[in-house]
C-alpha cells in the first residue's frame, strides 16, 4: 500500500460541489497553498468544485490560498474563529455583500469540535461562550454548579493539509507552529490529502516523533519548497 500520488491535480480531483473541506493552517503557517491553488485551477478549468463549506481558523488573507478561493466564488460558507487579518478584503467584501455565509466559532471550541469529529464524540460540554451571543440556541447544562454549553462535532468530506515529512503509509510530522489544526483535521475528514515537503519511505520517521499516524491519511503528494502564504502576501501575489 502506497498512499503517494504523483500530482497535485490528482490530489484534488474528487472534491465535489457543495462539499465540506477542512483546510489546515493558522494564518499563513501550515496553509497548504499548492493544494488550494490546484483546487482553484481545477475550478477555473471545469467550473467545479463550487458551493464549498470551508473550515479554517481564518478566512484568508491577500489574494492567495483561501482568499483566492473566495475571490473566485468557490466558497458558500466559512466556519472559522477569526475572519480578520492584515488584508482580509476578499472575505470582508463577500461577507458584507451577503455572498458568503459565516459560522463564527471560538477558537478552542473549533479545535475541540474538529477533534470530536475525528474521535467519534458527537457532543461535549465547554465553559467557552457561556452567556454570550455565540452560545445562542445551544443547550446549556450545569455540572458541579457551573454552566456549560453543549457543542457538536465537526466533520468534513475532505481535509487538505500541509506536513513536513510524510511516508508512503501516511505517517506525518509538521514544522513548528504550522502544526496547529492539521492533525485534528486529518482525523475528522472522510478523506485527508496532504502536501508534504519531503516524502520518505516507511521507517525514515522515528515512530516516537510521528504526530499524525498514517491511519488518518488517505493520500499525500510531495511539494518540495512549498510557498509560504505570508511571504506570498508580502510580495503582493495573486492566484491565478
Amino acid at each position: 500500500m502506497d498512499k503517494r500520488l504523483s500530482s497535485l491535480s490528482e490530489a484534488v480531483t474528487d472534491i465535489q460541489d457543495g462539499a465540506t473541506v477542512m483546510i489546515g493552517g493558522f494564518g499563513g503557517s501550515g496553509a497548504p497553498i499548492e493544494l488550494i491553488h490546484a483546487l482553484i485551477d481545477r475550478y477555473l478549468e471545469t467550473g467545479s468544485p463550487k458551493g464549498l463549506t470551508v473550515i479554517n481558523n481564518n478566512a484568508g488573507n491577500g489574494h492567495v490560498g483561501i482568499a483566492a478561493m473566495i475571490e473566485q466564488g468557490m466558497v458558500a460558507k466559512m466556519i472559522c474563529s477569526f475572519p480578520r487579518s492584515a488584508d482580509p478584503t476578499v472575505f470582508t467584501q463577500a461577507y458584507l455583500a451577503g455572498e458568503i455565509e459565516l459560522e463564527l466559532v471560538p477558537q478552542g471550541t473549533l479545535a475541540e469540535r474538529i477533534r470530536a469529529g475525528g474521535a467519534g464524540i458527537p457532543g461535549f460540554f465547554t465553559p467557552t461562550s457561556v452567556g454570550t451571543d455565540l452560545a445562542e440556541g445551544k443547550p446549556v447544562q450545569q455540572f458541579d454548579g457551573r454552566d456549560y454549553v453543549m457543542e457538536r462535532w465537526l466533520k468534513a468530506d475532505h481535509a487538505l493539509i500541509k506536513a513536513e515529512l510524510g511516508d508512503s503509509l501516511g505517517n506525518l510530522t509538521y514544522r513548528m507552529a504550522a502544526r496547529n489544526f492539521s492533525p485534528l483535521m486529518a482525523m475528522a475528514a472522510a478523506k485527508t490529502v496532504v502536501q508534504v515537503t519531503k516524502a520518505v519511505e516507511p521507517g525514515a520517521i522515528d515512530p516516537e516523533v510521528i504526530v499524525t499516524p498514517g491511519i488518518f491519511v488517505d493520500a499525500l503528494v510531495e511539494v518540495a519548497n512549498p510557498a509560504q502564504e505570508e511571504e506570498l502576501n508580502r510580495a503582493g501575489a495573486h492566484h491565478p
Binding site: A119, P202, P207, I210, G214, I215
Partner: protein, 227 residues
Amino acid sequence: MNQKLSNAQIAWRAAQDIEDGAYVNLGIGFPEMVARFQPPGREAIFHTENGVLGFGRAPEPGQEDWDLINAGKKAITLKPGTAFFHHADSFAMVRGGHLDVAILGAYEVAETGDLANWSTGPKGVPAVGGAMDLVHGAKRVAVITDHVTKKGQPKLVERCTLPLTGVGCVTRVYSSFAVVDIEGGRFVLREKLPSLSMEELQNATGAKLHVEGAVGDLICPEELADA
C-alpha cells in the same frame, strides 16, 4: 459431529477477508492468531489499543522489550512505519471509525448482532478492556469462535443471556463449523463444513440459520488442523 475447524483454521479463514492495507484490531487472546495468516501479497496494518499502529510480529523468546507490548500484554516488535501515540489518540482511531475491521472473541453472539464477550456474570472479577469501544468503532466487527461451548451449547443464539458488550454490532461470525453473516436481525449462512449436514449445523445453532443463494464449502488448509 466431532469434526470442526481448529482455532488456527478459523483464524486463517477470517484472515482471508482482510484486504490489503486494511487497518485491523485483533482482540486479545485467540483473535491475535489472525495476524499469522495474512494472504500472500496483502499486508494489513495492525492497531493495538495501548498505542501502537503498524507493529510487527512477536519477537524471538528472550528478545522481548516489555515496553513494546500489545493489548494482551504480549511482546511485539517494530517494523518500518510503526507509530506510537497515547491512549486518547488510540481510542480516537477506534471510536472515530478509522479501523476497517475488528475481530473479537465471543461467549455468545445473537442473530440481532448483539455480542457478549466480557463477563460471565456476577461471579468473579469483571474486566472489559477496550471491547466495548471496538464494537462501536470499527467499520466491520467480526467474531471468531467455536460454534458451540465446551459443553456443546450453541454460542450463536437468538438473544444473549450474558451481559452485553455491544448491541447490534457484529456483522460476520467465523465459527468452527461455518461462516455466518448477520443481516436484518437474522443469521444468514454463507459457508459450512462440507462434512456437516444442514440439519446438524442447525441443531448446533441457537437461532434459525437462513439460506440466501449458494452456501459455500468452508475449506481451510489441512496443515492447520492440529495447530
